[in-house]
Amino acid sequence: MKTGFTKKILPNGLTVLVHPDPDTRMGSLNIMVKVGSRDEDPEHTGFAHLFEHLMFSGSQHIPSYDQVAQSMGAENNAFTSNDLTDYYLTFPAHQLEVALWLERDRMGHPVIDQNALDTQKSVVIEEFKQRYLNQPYGDAWLELRNLAYTVHPYRWATIGKELAHIEKATLEVVLDFKNRFYAPDRMILAVSGPYESEHVVETVQRWFGDWAPSGYQAGPRPQEPVQNGIRRLDKHGSFPAPALYMAFHMPGRGDAAYQACDLITDVLSRGQSSRLFRDLVMDRGLFSDLNAYVTGDMDPGLLVVSGHCAPGVEVDRAENAVWESLERLRHEEITDFERDKSLHQIESSLVFARLQGLNMAMNLCYFEYLSRAEDYDLELDRYRAVTPTMIREQAFTILQPSNASVLRYIPSDHES
């Protein structure tokens, strides 16, 4: 797979990527800011995400971002992760110039006042409740992160460690955050659509070229020490069913071993023919659902196995069965059939991901942030280079109790 794109780094540090796609009539603009929750102060968590909300409050020359976006027929949104904040916009292709004007003003001149801050604090608090508190097991990731990490900032969720951090956010701290992180040298901008690359680069240069870089370099983040023993948290309460979350430390997204770890989770739970599904869901009926996945974080992340126990199955028994499956993977190589199956699935996913211009823009930005955009085309080859032996070696290292954090939800007697 070969992606045609152009890359240019402007003198102010802004990286510009253009992916021409003559088949579409829609344009996509993606701006990835190199700031996520991992860059936050432990006493002021949730700021990257809160700031993302504030970026929709209008800018110096454009009081209402949404009104302009809607008037150009655009759909827009943003998200914040542990590693980055991403703003995206899709629009009828002829509106590219307006899209760049809109983003230039918002990125460089956002208007953030006390009123906007107060409103967005309320909105974020409601988001916190909706995502984490108002549904069974909603707090699982708050608990799991806190269990698996002791010093690294991944120990808190992007929405923040606790509501109090959001409630106490002041305008001064928010603006300081903006000045440090929102600058062209901390951003990657990608455009996809029916455009000539040269024209797009010139247009971006015209809109963004005058913006001064911040020169800010984030300091080193605390590195998570090697875990030397299993960590456990059992939560007892009114839960509809026992649930199990097992998290194992694993290499980061840019590490050479990442693909082998990702393939471990494919072998374990991708598709109904995967090991965990076939053995523990279908054949033994221990779980009603069971998944394995990687968090895909840039710094060393987590490989997670999680599921809900089937009715009548106790969590101890279910957990033991998972350990048996993992132990097998630590000592035996996967079959050629399993490896080829995973590779076909990955190939298929990568091809389908290319259908949407926005996906292309986002992926190019992400790989540029991770290493370089050109590496996006190497993904399939990197997976193909993984051997069954490499998978066994990674499984042996990662999937051991001393590297595990286990969170279990145990219903009260009357619930079960």
Partner: protein, 439 residues
């Protein structure tokens, strides 16, 4: 040179709204809709039937039947079948909604010859193994137990039971005992009635979809030999819309306001529903615009009021979902505990405002521009266009619907919108459900 941020840059005029429409191909016995579009080497093969949960012979049997289609065939165990499909990187989806069954295969062109026969085998020769059924039922019950704790699910379920009249299939809510009552024989009957005895419509899309057409057509014809496809063919390209105002087939529900107490929850879920006419009605396009203006995009009146001005919620939305003979306009949100009464007042206020005041020129133009952009996005690429095609096919509509949609976005006047709001957007007729702690 510094850019002039004070002035919105001028851009070329909006291009004409156009679309790629599938061509109907085949021979005198069987036909298919084919859309040759895109560049990536993939193929989507889809079979659709105009029958769904509302025609289930036994409650939940159609839903469990479609779920069991991927649990093995008479020739391959579930492990063998899923293993082979996964091996070829193929994704098979079997689903059922109120008025349709859908079987979709996504596969890379290189692997079509391997995956397509397996896909067809699952559809025609499902095993319906009792153990698999029992496992799926237990899983569904577990899922039910988890979901029923959510305020959104509780509000949604109760809302359905209030909107639809007694005896309507949508009015009946499922409980664990209903799942446990379904037998393998029920699945077989549902399979025969919903899949085997009804002619499917076939659609293919991808950059070289026509290359696969003849072979797949022949297989489909062979799988349903008793069906006279020529007689059941639905030629959409020449079909005119049914633009006569229709009466609503389901009776207007009794307006109500219900609070489901869920004291442990930290937010209140809101569902407010009105019955609107379906896609086949003359007013539908304008009602869609009205719904978007009220709560269908980020700048909508409800979003601005409840979220941006008052911070009562993370999000609020209004959506319009069309069935064969009616549509439901539903407003939904998860609200700060203790703010539900205020939120309800504001929802009512925004509905009344649309009934009493004409929408200002700026806002009106903005929502139409937004919808034109979404219209283009909704037909951009082979998969999106095919989705649009199927949706219209189910309503017995064709390209005329798209033309009328464009025409409405061009010609609609604020006065017309207000008149429609007065007719349809009556807060006193809404079925309102709140689920959660105190209001």
């Amino acid at each position: 040179m510094n850019p002039d941020l004070h002035r919105r840059p001028s851009v070329p005029d909006q291009p004409e709204l156009t679309w790629s429409w599938p061509v109907t191909a085949g021979n005198e016995h069987v036909s298919a809709s084919v859309l040759n579009l895109g560049r990536e080497p993939l193929l989507r093969i889809e079979l659709q039937w105009k029958s769904g949960t509302w025609e289930e012979p036994v409650f939940l049997s159609g839903r469990l039947m479609t779920r069991l289609l991927s649990e093995g065939t008479t020739r391959h165990s579930a492990s063998e079948w899923t293993g082979a499909m996964d091996f070829w990187g193929a994704q098979a989806h079997f689903s059922i909604e109120q008025e349709r069954c859908t079987a979709t295969l996504y596969v890379l062109e290189a692997y079509v010859d391997h995956a397509w026969p397996l896909f067809l085998e699952a559809l025609m020769e499902p095993a319906f193994d009792p153990e698999a059924l029992n496992r799926v039922i237990q899983s569904k019950i577990q899922h039910w137990n988890i979901e029923s704790r959510k305020v959104t699910v509780a509000a949604s379920r109760r809302s359905r039971s209030l909107v639809y009249p007694y005896g309507h299939p949508e009015q009946r809510l499922s409980f664990p005992a209903d799942y446990e009552a379904v037998t393998v024989d029920d699945l077989r009957v549902a399979h025969r009635l919903l899949i085997r005895q009804k002619a499917p419509a076939l659609g293919l899309c991808g950059p070289s979809a026509d290359r696969f057409l003849l072979r797949i057509l022949a297989d489909v014809k062979g799988a349903w030999p008793q069906i006279d496809f020529a007689a059941s063919e639905d030629t959409l390209t020449s079909k005119e819309n049914l633009l006569e105002p229709l009466s609503l087939v389901i009776p207007e529900p009794t307006p109500s306001l219900m609070h489901l107490p869920m004291p442990d929850a930290v937010q209140v879920a809101l569902r407010s529903t009105l019955v609107f006419p379906s896609k086949t009605h003359l007013d539908y396009h304008a009602l869609k615009i009205m719904t978007v203006l009220l709560g269908g995009y980020f700048g909508s009146r409800l979003m601005q009021n409840l979220r941006e001005d008052k911070g009562l919620t993370y999000g609020v939305g209004a959506g319009l979902r069309s069935f064969g003979d009616h549509a439901l306009m539903t407003i939904q949100s998860e609200l700060q505990a203790g703010s539900a009464e205020l939120a309800l007042e504001e929802v009512r206020f925004e509905m009344q405002r649309l009934r009493e005041e004409e929408v200002g020129k700026g806002e009106f133009g903005r929502v139409l521009s937004y919808l034109r952009g979404q219209w283009m996005a909704g037909m951009d690429g082979p998969l999106a266009m095919m989705d649009r095609y199927w949706d219209l096919w189910h309503h017995g509509l064709g390209e005329d619907f798209l033309r009328q949609s464009v025409q409405t976005m061009r010609d609609l006047e604020p006065a017309t919108l207000r008149r429609l709001a007065q007719t349809y957007l009556d807060p006193d007729k809404a079925v309102v459900v709140l689920a959660g702690p105190g209001l």
